[in-house]
């Protein structure tokens, strides 16, 4: 099995009428890397993937695989494994013949086909189902057949378009783990499309968050979660608290002053220069701890009163009213929430590294 190949997407643009489905998208995926395009429907993530696969003819830009330009190459000449949203298995062929299809198209000998099909059937744990009809398979089994068929000819790149979208949650989590195992085992480069943020966070080496045909942010799961570059990205990954702030001192460790509070300053660890005049500070609900007084061990301290408590199963959420607005705090189920009834005065405290700052206009 060859190692994965690098994918290089440069200034890719596709228009449908007046609408730019993708607008100057650039992205480099390293050999063997797992990169996810994450976004809502209409964000351009599938269009980008289908352009790499060769099914969308871009209006501008270029796509290179292993350094060679494939922008105008037809799909069958690109040698990429593609897993489609609804699997696209051939209903007139059984499991074996579906998986053998790409090898037959490449005119391999039947004995070689047999060996390769058995190899990938083992890889996706479907050894005993090779004679089954497609219609006799469950959704999860169909998904495995689609994966096996896309891998049997040892492509250096695997493209997956919402491959788990049609499955129920439990099966989805199980297959996420399997896809990651197969990725590690084969070293194939994966470009993965999903709208599910948890899926993206748990599977990817890097995530490209897309909206309006552009990449909003590209980074590791930690980066995009902890240091989102704008409000859209922050909002994409679960709950977040936004505070209107003015920047009192710019630089690497900026000092922020929440609007409406005179004697409180907040601190953030920042990797980007700040520009503009209105800013938002963001902190995740689970990054905040509750205390009964100002705590010098934390860079950020904010007083407030408890407004509401919600029990959510694994966690509980506290809504705290502060001078800078309502702040949600997520605590472990084991935290003693009974000591924090509505109206109780509390101090919220969190680390500078948990605070992201971005231009409110973005």
């Amino acid at each position: 099995m060859p190692r994965g190949a690098a994918i290089e997407i440069r200034d890719l643009t596709k228009r449908y009428g007046d609408v730019k489905a993708i607008d100057a998208v650039s992205l480099t995926v390293a050999e063997g890397e797992f990169v996810t395009l994450l976004g809502l429907s209409g964000s351009g993530k599938s269009t980008t993937l289908m352009a790499v696969a060769g099914f969308v003819d871009p209006d501008g830009g270029a796509i290179a695989i292993s350094g060679s330009d494939v922008t105008t190459l037809p799909p069958e000449k690109r040698n990429l494994g593609v897993v489609f949203q609804n699997y696209a298995l051939f209903p007139h062929l059984n499991v074996f013949d579906n998986i053998a299809f790409p090898l037959r198209m490449r005119r391999h000998a039947e004995s070689e086909i047999d060996t390769q099909v058995r190899r990938v059937l083992d890889l996706v744990s479907l050894r005993d189902l090779s004679a089954r009809r497609i219609t006799e398979l469950s959704g999860g089994q169909q998904q495995r057949v689609a994966l096996a068929r896309a891998l049997v000819f040892s492509p250096p790149v695997l493209l997956m378009d919402e491959p788990l979208g049609a499955l129920d949650r439990q099966l989805r989590e199980q297959l996420q783990i399997e896809i990651r195992r197969i990725h590690r085992q084969l070293g194939v480069t994966v470009l993965y499309v999903t709208h599910d943020q948890e899926e993206a966070l748990s599977m990817s080496d890097r995530i490209a968050i897309m909206a309006d045909g552009r990449i909003q942010q590209l980074g590791t799961p930690h980066e995009v979660y902890m240091q989102p570059s704008n409000r859209f990205v922050a909002g994409f990954f679960g709950e977040s608290n936004f505070l209107d702030v003015a920047v009192e001192r710019a630089g690497d460790n900026p000092v922020l002053r929440p609007k409406g509070l005179r004697d409180i300053t907040l601190h953030a660890a920042l990797r980007r220069p700040l520009s503009g005049d209105r800013f938002l500070a963001m902190v995740r609900p689970e990054a905040i701890e509750i205390g009964d007084s100002r705590d010098p061990a934390f860079e950020n301290n904010l007083p407030g009163t408890v407004e509401q408590q919600d029990f959510l199963g694994a966690t509980q959420r506290l809504t705290v009213k502060t001078g800078a607005g309502s702040v949600a705090v997520r605590m472990s189920r084991l935290a003693n929430a009974a000591a924090l009834p509505a109206g109780a005065p509390v101090w919220l405290k969190w680390r500078a590294g948990e605070t992201a700052v971005f231009d409110a206009q973005d």
Binding site: A53, G54, P74, P75, E76, F90, A150, F153
Partner: protein, 285 residues
């Protein structure tokens, strides 16, 4: 006794279905099934012996010849309809709503025009002074090719009349083919031609067979087109039946010929349903 509400509802619903179908069933039984049964019985009720008419069909060469020609021309008609209908059905199944509407309009305009009107129109168009013959004469083929009152005329007329019966079931099957299957085939290394042959054709085969069986069976019973556009050698079985009713007044023998036609059609539909899933194509189960 166990009687669930769901079971009760099902019984009520099937009773309602039965009563709604009843008038149609009565009409069908009284005006179609009974007369056809009578016809079949008549064909076997000659005082000289039950099979005397069938022996005559088997022994006198002209009857088998007409039967063979009816089958042959019907088979060629089905093949021509498949050849011409396939691309049209493909467009109908895979185009946007505008193109789809235009194609359907063309099909139904021809469908809604009276059969006799269409037959006479073909006579006008195809006769030696018509535009097609003139066009052939213009390129120097006018004397060699006769377009009407021969097998060519029958085939042109039959194909045009029966084409919709090919296009509609074929397009129905084609529109059920998921277009991403073709993309999947391409991504797996198939050229457009190979994807078409290895994936598309196998998936629409049942529709092509359904259309072919339908056109063939309908063609077997044709009367107007062969009578008006064919020559004396192109007599169809239906013309022979008509001749025995109106000219020789041999009703039992006409019944026997009709029974042969009926049996051939039933066998055809049965084969189509048993082996090629015709029932599924037409929406049954």
């Amino acid at each position: 006794m166990m009687s669930s509400p769901a079971g009760l509802r099902r019984t009520t619903r099937s009773a309602t279905t039965f009563f709604l179908l009843l008038p149609g069933l009565v009409v069908l039984a009284g005006m179609f099934i009974l007369p056809v049964a009578q016809l079949v019985i008549d064909s076997f009720s000659d005082p000289a012996g039950a099979l005397v008419h069938y022996q005559r069909i088997a022994v006198v060469p002209v009857y088998l010849l007409v039967l063979a020609r009816t089958f042959l021309i019907s088979a060629i008609t089905a093949a021509l309809c498949l050849l011409l209908g396939f691309p049209i059905a493909y467009r109908l199944a895979h185009s946007g709503p505008r193109v789809k509407a235009i194609i359907l309009l063309c099909i139904f305009l021809s469908f809604w025009t009276n059969l006799l009107v269409r037959a006479f129109s073909w006579m006008v168009l195809l006769n030696p002074n018509g535009i097609f013959s003139q066009a052939l004469a213009f390129i120097g083929l006018g004397d060699q090719i006769k377009l009407v009152y021969n097998t060519t005329g029958v085939l042109i007329g039959q194909t045009q009349i029966l084409l919709p019966y090919m296009i509609l079931p074929l397009a129905a099957v084609m529109s059920r083919v998921d277009p991403t299957l073709m993309n999947a085939a391409r991504s797996l290394g198939a050229s457009p031609t190979r994807a078409f042959l290895a994936v598309y054709i196998p998936l629409v085969k049942s529709g092509a067979l359904a259309g072919s069986v339908l056109v063939f069976a309908l063609s077997l019973g044709s009367f107007v087109i062969p009578a008006l556009l064919g020559g004396p050698r192109d007599m169809f079985l239906a013309q022979l039946i008509e001749f025995n009713i109106n000219n020789t007044l041999n009703l039992p023998f006409a019944s026997a010929l009709a029974t042969v036609l009926l049996a051939a059609t039933i066998v055809l539909y049965w084969i189509g349903d048993r082996w090629f899933g015709l029932g599924q194509v037409w929406g049954g189960r």
